[in-house]
Amino acid sequence: MNELVASFGGRALRIGRRIFSRPRIDVPLALGLLLLALAGLTVLYSASNLNASMVAGQAVRFAIGGALLLVVSRIPPSLLRAWTPWFYLLSCVLLVVVMVLGEGRGADRWLDLGVIRFQPSELMKLAMPMMVAWYLHPRPLPPRWRDIIAIGILVGAPAYLVFKQPDLGTALLIVASGVFVLFLAGLQWWKIGAMLAALAAAAPVAWHFLHDYQRERVLTFLNPERDPLGSGWHIIQSMIAVGSGGVLGKGFNQGTQSKLEFLPEHTTDFIFAVLGEEFGLVGVLVLLALYVFIVGRCLWIAANARDTWSRLTAGALGLAFMVYVIVNGGMIAGLLPVVGVPLPLVSYGGTSAITLLTGFGVVMSIHAHRKWSA
């Protein structure tokens, strides 16, 4: 009994020592995230019409996310990997719950826990790459067909739940994060080609399952002037905001498109357009460069990780992060349909910021523990 206690105590002590030992975060990545958060708060301050309490609220969320990042970075990847299935299951359950009794604006995406409201689909964005990496971790690489099928189920089930919310954009991003793991795991190119071909063949079928408003968005994206006051409004006003910003922008708090509310959702999904309007092309390129730097750093950390799970998780999180930026930016610039994907760490919104920072906590942990065996 004593031995058991001692061994348990000793184990706890070891873990505790690891957690509370000197910070082992990756400084370049942390700096990049800090810069991004500051940029995000600045743009939000203007986009919210100088609403200080809104910015403070977002800063608090960043602080919570930052704290979670620091905590998670102390947890060894082996432990994180062990917890992964439970985390994945929890996310799935929450998705089911939100489906049964969720509430939200038009789409049921929110779960109200009294104190906080959050979107389980955001949680799933983090859980998915970890889960697929967990599945592939003990198995031979590159993935075999049966693994692909198993992963298809792991990815498809929650993605379907999110799609039904309905949130096509997030569902696709969840699928993408799973697919990135497969890609990074070294899936043969011919298999990738076969899957892409199957996807192309399935597209007409998928069209059949889309909601009317989703089809509408796709059609409107193809021709925004088709519905200039309806869903085309978003794209047109966003392009006007960006285009009128020019090279140097109109200056902080000078954007007429967002100030006069022509630009819809200008604190959340369309905040990039506010940046484009007020800080111009220069601001846009600086922000994109910052994102590229963060993703590059993630991939560098992944490449130096010790085991399969760590590599795949860190790599997939980095690529998915970049995809969020590309999808959001593409939407703002009229390249992609309006899909309701926030700009990571800049858009106003708690769940997204906190889960993203937690995800970077996982990356930090992988970086910090790269020298230890699992």
Binding site: P140, L141, P142, R144, F180, F183, L184, A185, G186, Q188, L229, Q237, M239, I240, A241, V242, G243, S244, G245, G246, V247, T256, Q257, L260, E261, F262, G276, G280, L281, V284, L285, L288, Y291, V292, V295, G296, L299, A302, A303, D307, T308, R311, L312, G315, L319, M322, V323, V325, I326, G329, G330, A333, G334, L335
Partner: protein
Amino acid sequence: MNSRGELPDERAKRARFGLRALTGFALMLALVLVVAGRFVYLQVYQHTEYSTRAKANRVRLRHLPPPRGLIYDREGKLLADNVPAFRLDVIPDKVKHMDAMLERLSMVVPLTADDIRRFRQSLKQHRPFEQVPLKFRLTESERDRFAVDQWQFPGVSIDPYLTRNYPYGAEFAHVIGYVGRIDEKEQAQLDPDRYAGSTHIGKTGLEKEYENLLHGTPGYELVEVNADQRPLRVLQRVAAKPGRNLYLTIDERLQRATIAAFDGQTGAAVAIDPRNGNVLAMVTVPSFDPNLFVNGISQSDYTALLEDPEKPLLNRAMRGGYPPGSTVKPFLGLGGLELGLRKASDTVLSTGTFYIPGVARGYRDDQRYGAGRVDLVQAITQSVNTYFYSLALQMGIGRLDQWMARFGFGSPTGIDLPDETGGVLPSPEWKRKTFKQPWYPGETVIAGIGQGYWMVTPLQLAHALATLAGGGLAHVPHVLAATSDGLGAPEMPYPQPRPEQLTHDPADLAAVKQGMLGVVNSPMGTAYKAGIGAGFPYLIAGKTGTAELYSRTTEAYNTNRNLQYLAERHRAWFIAYAPADHPQIAIAVVLEHGAWGGTAAAPIARKMLDQWLLDTPPSERPPPITTPATQTAVAAPVTP
């Protein structure tokens, strides 16, 4: 490495991962570059276009319709003004289900079928993002009720505006006319810049005639709006220039006294200042309330006006055509002198019936056995038909026409009011054109006493009389005296065309005037019995007229028939001017159901004279005529 291409160890896995991570990064970088390229395209190459669109987004031009000019009478009494009111406006774009919204709205603010019909009509004239008026002149309780429920009606709002108001209502309706909502046809012809934001336009009367002066110049505001089109601030403002105020020659007191004198009898009266052509009063009875038309008259009100047998919408004073009857005699008599056909002293024997030589059919005198030998003065005083039958025949229809046309008969007087009619001055050409029939000498005979095809308007007769009273100077009658921009003093007078001298010899005029003095003041005069000269400090000159409504035959006047019968058949005329020696007012009165001119229409003229010449302090009146109105004064021979 086995046959499946499985990665053998950790090193191989790492190497493969490194390759894939690099590939993935390259892919992402490529996509980021595409996005960045798109931003470059939007922000550099299309910057100008999107800048323009951003500006167009936020800046709206809002029209400020000018306040309409006010209309005053000659003494500055307000006859047409603008009062603040509220209307219900709808922005069609913001209403999802128009029918359902209108139905719900009608439970809050009563909407008549007329309101909805008009609204649907104006929907077609506006673009979907423009405000379309639904209901004008909301009452206070309607405003309150809507204010409570406004949140239920997005796109519907209450807006203040200035609406036209006619404080005197029916009393000036035929002169001032009214404004009404711009209709589709007018919209197509109006200058869109001048009428931007305007909803009303002059439809009749002075409001129509002087639309250009009254309308003013619209201003505008550049307003910054948000996406809901809610104005946030005014960037630039150019104020509207109000329309010019009009000062009329018409006197409100005379106008109202005239209306009162009619006492509801159907007819018309026009008073003109012979010295300058100023119209002092212009009355049509019955009239209508012009305020009904301003914001759209209801179908039932309109039907009632149209179906009224007395036709209140007919502007009798300048559109009512009546046979002038004996009122033409002074003008014809003057023609006989001026054309050198007769002298004033020449006499004609009246036997009771006049025959055209060689024609069996006779033309009757008023007096069954005739008036005996009469000269011009007596012929006018006693209204002796025979004198004028023979004169007309002597002149011939050609010269008769020419002469009477100079006094304005047969054509509009040119008054500054729209839609004046010119009546009918019968002539062989006119008859051929109208009826495709030849002219008979008998028609020339009856033209001499104002019967037959003759049609004159009260305005024409008043104008002709004013010309005669004013020494043969034909001033074009007008109702506008002056205009003002609302700040400075009125610009007096409003320029008028030069008057034309129609007569040559003042003695000719004097003889005719002598005859007209007798009408009122001589015991032989046709208006003497009406006693309108009694107790009046000035001499009145006049002429009665009784026009047959239906018959142009020689059927004898049956004085035994009751007055009711005669009243239905006859138009009673009385024309008069005073003071006789220096005339200041010339009046024409017609009563549609008057039996005899002298007794029915003359008292109205007297009341008008009372008002015009006596309702001022004696010190400001013209000097009274001291010569008593005696037989000797009237009968004194006139020497040319």
